[in-house]
Structure formats: structure tokens, C-alpha cells
């Protein structure tokens, strides 16, 4: 399997220059194993003071991916990718669930020869919105995603659809892109009809400042129509024990801003570097909410609109080769909901609380392919339930390991 053959290009070179060589002009090292096969092994130990199932205050109708307690096998990821033919490249990432079973995280095809700065991708892919959304879990700088990604995107938005990007032929990096998809994953509700269930547009700008600094800034817009989005265990004004189930149908529109700045002495990231990033998302939802949809429930429907937002800022510093430390601050705003008169006495419109969290991490990489991490967090995302969290994590990568994105 590891055997290498002189390729026909090498033979062509031989004929021209009569130099004995076996190094082909293959260039694409990813295809050295054809197809490139990789496996990420990761696991963690989590020590929490509070039940991870409790959602952030004001975000009971949002996802709560939460954390695992005790020892657990994290997401092991299996990746396969290769050029399909001169026009297409294919890549799939399968997530191995610790409880058994396999889920398709990514499975997409992208064009390699459209030219003129165009890139077309179709299948299941991580949406190009924001900065962190496209990064795989093994490339995260912390054990978990920022709170704003957890509550607004259920950690990460993977869409089934089509993405088209265009890179302008300018000195500065300027890219625009658009996606249409099924509306898979929160906040989408998996449209099962003709047409598209969600759309995204994004724009990225980036450049270097001298030899030591680089940056990328982005803006994105996500829209979807939510249909019968049911949330359980939502606290209400009457104080129903265990909360109620609500159902929302309406429009959801999210704008995002992201900025990343990196610095390395002499631009040599191997020794030391500093990376600072921040992202902000603001989602406006407007539609009808049905209160208490349980069989014997009240089932009262009236208008409902709310604007939720959140941001984080984080810095990661590699202070010597192999060792990095990072600090992150998270903050969410559940907003004040406009609730129709029929539900004014049922639905909590104003939680008057901003969830926050402060996280510190230290990680050590024995090589480019292995990493151990210690993470401590002081989590104030739940009002009156401060949580001190500790995580120990390992991330190992074996097989062909493709290049990482910026």
C-alpha cells in the first residue's frame, strides 16, 4: 500500500532532461494514499458541578448540546478524500458515535477546475457562515464551541445543499459565497418539499500586515423558514413543573460578523504565535408560537418575535513550541420577546439575564498529530447555577492528514 511508483509525468521529465528521478509532479500529497484516509481519535474526561442538561437561561427553546460528564469517548472521526477525476474532488467525514452507530458529518463533492475563482460544492458540508463553523472539532482551540455557536447553531451548522464561492482577482483576499440547502440542523426544520429550506450568503476579506501579522474578517447572513419547531421543557410564567412544550413557526434571520487576527514573530508559526478571534451573531425570529402543545395542553397560538444575540472573544498563545494556552469569554443576550396578547400570561418575555462564561485552556502537542488539553471554565450561563467545569481531552490524528484552513 505504501509503495510508490514513478508516474508518467516523471517519465516525461526523464525523457526531456534525462535525469533519473522518481519524484512525480504529483503535488497533491493528499492523494499519496489514494484516497486519503484519516482517523481522528479523541476522548475526554469532564467534571461538572451542575447537570449539563439544564439550558442557558433564556435559551430553553434553543439547542443545548451540553457536555459529557466523566470519562467518555468523544467524536472519533473518519475522513476519506480524493480527487474523483480532473474536475471533481470528493470528501466524506463519518462521525463514530461512542454509543455505536455512524453519522455522516460531511459528504461533499467540490469542483477543482471551474477556474476564474469559482468553487462549487455540493452534498453535506459545514456552512461557510462565521469563522469557526467550517472547522472540524479536532481543530477547535477549546474542548467545546463558544456558547453562541451552541445555542444558535447547535455547535455547528452542517447543511445539505449547494455552495458557490467566488474569489475576486484582487490583491487583497475578497471572497463572496452563497448557499441554498435543505434547512438541515438548527434553526432549520428540514424542509421536505420542493425548493430550498435555508439560504446563506457570506463575504470574507483578508490580508497580511507585513510579514508577521495576518487577518480575516467576515460577515454572513442566514435565513430559514421554521415550521413546527417544537421545544420541550420550556419554563413558563404560570411556573408549570418541568416546563411545557411549545411550537414555533416563522421566519428566522441571523446576521454574523467575525474577525480573526494572527501574529507570529517573523511569521514563523512553528515557534510562537498569537491568535485572537471574535464573532458576533444576532438572530431575529418572527412568527407564531403555540403554547403548551401537550395532548391535554392549553394549545394557545399567537404571534411571537424575539431577537437573540451572542458573542465571544478568545486568544490562543503558543508560548513555546508544542505548548499553547488560551482564554475565552462568552456572552449571550436572550432578548425581550414580543408576545401576542393571548400568550402574554404564559410565555416569559424577558429573562433579564445575560449568560456568560469564562474559559481557560492549556494544551500540549507532542507532534503535529497528537494533542492533550486541560480546560477549566467558570460557567454562568444559567442564572443562579454557577458551574465550575474541568475537562481533560486528547485528540490524535492518524493516517493522511490534510492541510488545515486558516
Amino acid at each position: 500500500m505504501f509503495k510508490r511508483f514513478c508516474s508518467s509525468t516523471a517519465i516525461a521529465v526523464l525523457l526531456i532532461h534525462s535525469i533519473p528521478t522518481c519524484a512525480a509532479d504529483s503535488g497533491n500529497a493528499e492523494n499519496a494514499f489514494n484516497p486519503a484516509f484519516s482517523l481522528i481519535l479523541s476522548g475526554s474526561y469532564g467534571n461538572l458541578q451542575r447537570d449539563p442538561a439544564i439550558p442557558a437561561t433564556g435559551f430553553a427553546m434553543n439547542p443545548n448540546p451540553g457536555h459529557e460528564q466523566g470519562f467518555n469517548l468523544g467524536e472519533s472521526e473518519m475522513g476519506i478524500s480524493a480527487n474523483i477525476d480532473p474536475q471533481f474532488r470528493g470528501a466524506a467525514t463519518l462521525a463514530l458515535d461512542p454509543a455505536g452507530g455512524v453519522s455522516v458529518e460531511n459528504a461533499f463533492v467540490q469542483t477543482t477546475s471551474l477556474g476564474d475563482g469559482l468553487n462549487l460544492k455540493f452534498g453535506r458540508y459545514f456552512s461557510g457562515l462565521g469563522y469557526l463553523n467550517e472547522q472540524h472539532a479536532h481543530a477547535w482551540d477549546f474542548t467545546d464551541q463558544p456558547l453562541v455557536y451552541a445555542v444558535l447553531w447547535e455547535n455547528q451548522l452542517a447543511e445539505d445543499g449547494v455552495q458557490l464561492k467566488w474569489l475576486a482577482p484582487t490583491e487583497m483576499f475578497f471572497e463572496i459565497g452563497g448557499e441554498v440547502g435543505k434547512g438541515r440542523g438548527f434553526p432549520g426544520t428540514e424542509r421536505a418539499k420542493n425548493g430550498s429550506g435555508a439560504g446563506v450568503v457570506f463575504v470574507h476579506l483578508g490580508d497580511d500586515i507585513g510579514i508577521e501579522q495576518s487577518w480575516r474578517a467576515g460577515a454572513s447572513l442566514h435565513r430559514t423558514r421554521r415550521v413546527d419547531a417544537v421545544s420541550d421543557a420550556v419554563p413558563d410564567l404560570p411556573g408549570t413543573v418541568g416546563g411545557v412544550s411549545n411550537s414555533f413557526s416563522g421566519d428566522s434571520q441571523t446576521v454574523g460578523l467575525d474577525l480573526v487576527w494572527k501574529y507570529a514573530p517573523n511569521g514563523n508559526i512553528k515557534d510562537r504565535y498569537l491568535k485572537v478571534q471574535t464573532e458576533y451573531f444576532r438572530r431575529k425570529e418572527n412568527g407564531d408560537l403555540t403554547y403548551d402543545t401537550a395532548v391535554a395542553g392549553a394549545n394557545i397560538t399567537d404571534t411571537y418575535s424575539v431577537t437573540q444575540s451572542g458573542w465571544y472573544v478568545q486568544g490562543v498563545y503558543q508560548f513555546m513550541p508544542r505548548w499553547r494556552s488560551g482564554l475565552r469569554y462568552d456572552r449571550l443576550d436572550p432578548g425581550v420577546a414580543q408576545v401576542g396578547a393571548a400568550n402574554a400570561g404564559n410565555i416569559i418575555a424577558d429573562y433579564a439575564y445575560n449568560p456568560t462564561r469564562t474559559t481557560w485552556m492549556l494544551d500540549y502537542s507532542a507532534s503535529e498529530f497528537s494533542r492533550f488539553r486541560l480546560q477549566l471554565a467558570h460557567d454562568n450561563s444559567r442564572q443562579g447555577l454557577a458551574d465550575n467545569q474541568l475537562f481533560v481531552q486528547y485528540i490524535m490524528s492518524l493516517g493522511a492528514h490534510g492541510a488545515h484552513q486558516y
Binding site: 512525480a24 503535488g27 500529497a29 482577482p169 517573523n266 511569521g267 492541510a403 488545515h404
Partner: protein, 297 residues
Amino acid sequence: MKRLFVMFFLLLLSIPAHALNIFACEPEWAALTQQLAGGKADIYTATAALQDPHRIEARPSLIAKARRADLVVCTGAELEMAWLPVVLRESGNSKVQPGSNGYFEAASAVRMLEVPTRLDRGDGDVHAQGNPHIQTDARNFLPVAAALAQRLMQLDPANKAEYQQRLAVFEQQWRTALTRWEKQAAPLKGVAVVVQHRGFPYLSNWLGLQEVATLEPKPGLEPSAGWLSQVQDTLRQHPAKMVLRAAYQDGRPSEWIAQRAHIAAVELPYTVGGSDGARDLFGLFDDTIARLLKGVQ
């Protein structure tokens, strides 16, 4: 009307032809392209001499530059595997994808050393196609220059004669310089050296240096204190004259061993721009040999 047409045609001819946009991965290939293309090329250098070429990020600026390139000139042999594939893919530039005419790998023109017989990450960061640091042997620039000039002629046939002439001039100057360097470097033959990273097999092969130890326990792994004392023991049995490192590498492991084993720590420019003397390709080897000779004194 006819006169107008002729004038228009003359005007078209007088507009300077669009220079080739070249994206060079490393400074040595930018310098070589400059020698071969002169004013016919606009050259962007993706990495600098003080950067580890294995560890570069696929920065937005690199993607933007690759988008406009007519030709990408890189070392290849997996040296740039951590960043170049993403840069090229994201560029959306079909002219410079691997396998096309606009993609040139210098390593494909030379005989590779240290081609591994087994691929195992347990052996560290080894490259399947062999050691990619081919630019430390000055002789390698002749076949690379010939292949690169060939490629420039393919992409810009209108200026074929100029490329041919520039190649001839470069080859003649380089051969003269090679004779001079080899004569100067004669005292280096058989000299025992320690290297920090396995980045000098081509240099050693060219000048006859004997590598007796490596400070990195495995390619790409940082030297640990324990390993360095092992190297120290090795040096007691097989004494070396100097320890070599590239300008982009952390000087501490070299200095540590140099102090304890009482040998010279020699920082080599490694590529164009790696030292004050290495202003161009000729300066690169003038300075490299001068530093090595100073090290054996």
C-alpha cells in the same frame, strides 16, 4: 481606414505584454525565477527565510495571490503539504492546479535523497518522496533551472528566445560559480558535523560533510533534554567540528550542544534572505560556504 487599422495594430504591439504572474513557494525559487524571467515575470514569494516552510498557514493573502498566478513554483516532495493544497484549492484558479502546466515542482527535476523505504509516523515527519530540502546542493539548481525555463517557454512562447538566452547565461555563470565553491569548500571534505534538523543531506552529499548526529530525535520533533545528552555521548565517541542549523530554526538546541561539546554552532542562511550575505542565489552559497569554513577553523 486602413491607416487607422495599422495604427491600432501598432498601438496593440506597443502595449507591454502582460508579465507572467508567478507564485513562488520559497525564496530560492523566487530568486531562480527572477534569474530566468527577468522583467517578464511578476514574482510573489509565499514564505520568508525565517519561516519554517513545513509550517505555514493557508492565509487569505496566499489564496488571493494564487488566484492571480499563471505559474506556481514550489519545492514539492510534500514540503508544502500542510498549506499548499488548501491554498490552491481555495484559489479557484484552474491554471495552477497540480498536474497542470501552471504547477511546477522543483523536486521533480532532481535526484531525491533519503527516500524512505517505509512510511510510518512513528519515524516522525518523513516525506514519502524523499528529503525535500534540495536547495542546499548548488548543483541541483542546474536541472531545476532547465526544467523551469522549459515551463516558462511553454507558458509564454512569445518570449521564448529571451528565456533561452537567460537560461544560457545563468547556466554559464552558475557553472563558473560551482567550480569556485567546490574549490573553496575543499577543506570541508570529510568534516564531521551535527545537524539540528535533517535538512542538510544534499549539502553534505555535495561538499562531503559527514553527519554524525541529529539534534531532533525524529524529523519535526523538538529536541528534548534527554535526547540532547544522548547526542552529547555520541559526540564523545565521534567528535564533530560544528553543529548546523537553518536560519529559521530555534538556535537554543544548537547553542546548548555547541557549548557542551566545545564545537562551533553554525547558522546557515538556507535560502535567499536567510542572512545579510544571502541576497541572491550566488550570495546564498558564497555565504553558506564562508560560514562553514569559519566553523571548521
